[in-house]
């Protein structure tokens, strides 16, 4: 069966790369590994449909973040506005990567809702501080969403991609906290202390 490697920009070595089945049919849950003689991880049988379902709310959250950052940038001025615009562009890249990841495992990725559907939930951005506070909320929401997904994904390359994205969300959060004059790294475990294993 033809397989696709993980995205090269993750920097994962091809010998340990995970090759994912394309064109998965309903109920397909096995993955073939064929690069360099690698074997599937014992006991790990990726569930591609489930992984797609796990990523769906994360992708929707990114679409919301894209619309949110447009509103946030519009409510800010100068360097802060440029920062918000840049973070919005990064969220767009996240959405593209998540879409590509879902499609790479042979599933369909949902597109965004109309912008107004997301805007309905936004607070009033009457001041720059309102805008920055909202941006902090956007990032915290993203982080919670990604952390929940990280524990549930059954495909190793997806787990790595999620980890690389949520690390950027955390970096963005730190910068926004600094902009608000708040401690930029308030906790050693982003999103709160880990639950017992």
């Amino acid at each position: 069966m033809k397989v696709a490697p993980p995205p090269p920009e993750l920097g994962l070595r091809s010998r340990r790369g995970f090759l994912l089945a394309s064109g998965a049919t309903v109920g397909l849950s096995t993955v073939l590994y064929g690069c360099g003689g690698d074997e599937p991880a014992p006991g790990e049988v990726p569930n591609l449909e489930r992984d797609s379902a796990v990523l769906a709310p994360v992708l929707d959250q990114e679409y919301a973040a894209i619309v949110a950052y447009r509103a946030i940038a519009a409510a800010l001025g100068g360097e802060a506005a440029r920062l918000a615009a840049r973070f919005g562009e990064q969220e767009e890249q996240h959405a593209k990567r998540l879409t590509a990841a879902v499609e790479r495992i042979g599933q369909m990725a949902a597109g965004p809702l109309p912008d107004d559907d997301y805007r309905r939930g936004f607070p009033d951005l009457a001041s720059a501080d309102d805008a920055l506070a909202f941006a902090v909320d956007v990032e915290r929401t993203a982080i919670v969403s990604y952390l929940a997904a990280s524990a549930k994904l059954s495909t190793a390359a997806l787990r790595a991609e999620i980890a690389a994205i949520v690390t950027v969300e955390a970096e963005q959060l730190s910068v926004l906290l600094l902009e608000r004059g708040l401690p930029p790294v308030p906790e050693p475990f982003v999103g709160g202390d880990p639950l017992p294993l």
Partner: protein
């Protein structure tokens, strides 16, 4: 950059794709096992590979504090980030215990920052160590199955990314230069 026991720098080993588990072998803490992890023994090997890296980072922030460098880092100075690295180490130690593995005994470590001086050099060294740390955690995500251990490692990796952002600010670089954080060195 301080030197690992066999003369190869740890950061170089990681950049050559030796990976977390091989890095553990470098420090003599676990045999290298290149197969993707799925069972507890593999999880133990991966976690044992991460602990010395956390210790090294903690020692590096300590050394930065002793040198009087980066006093404004995170608003509290390097010891604040050192303490976060120590919390990471604790969590990884707790993971080892829950996996039924022996704790990793501390070893004599080479000097964390290799005796270099200026504030900018120290920040660059810390950036290098944090970048390597992030790439190690990224590899761990590939090697381990899902569940709470992965979630813990994700939370830690994200925190290391936050340290990266602050160190980039300290050397006047863009704090969040790219959409994915893989531990690649800043250009």
């Amino acid at each position: 950059m301080s030197i690992a026991p066999d003369g190869l720098t740890r950061a170089t080993a990681l950049r050559r794709g030796a990976g977390v588990v091989a890095a553990a072998a470098l420090w003599g803490v676990a045999p290298a096992n290149a197969a993707p992890a799925a069972d507890d023994r593999e999880a133990v090997a991966v976690v044992r590979g991460l602990i010395p890296l956390e210790r090294r980072l903690a020692a590096a922030y300590d050394a930065a504090a002793s040198a009087g460098a980066l006093r404004d880092l995170a608003g509290e100075g390097p010891v604040y980030l050192r303490d976060q690295e120590l919390r990471h180490e604790e969590a990884l130690g707790a993971a080892l215990a829950r996996l039924g593995a022996e704790p990793l005994e501390p070893r004599d470590e080479p000097p964390a920052l290799g005796g270099i001086g200026g504030e900018r050099e120290i920040a660059e060294m810390l950036l290098e160590l944090e970048s390597s740390m992030v790439s190690s955690y990224l590899e761990a995500h590939q090697a381990l199955r899902g569940g709470r251990l992965i979630e813990t490692l994700t939370r830690i990796m994200a925190n290391e990314g936050q340290h990266l952002a602050l160190l980039r600010i300290a050397v006047n670089r863009m704090p969040v230069p790219r959409a994915l954080e893989t531990g690649v060195r800043d250009s």
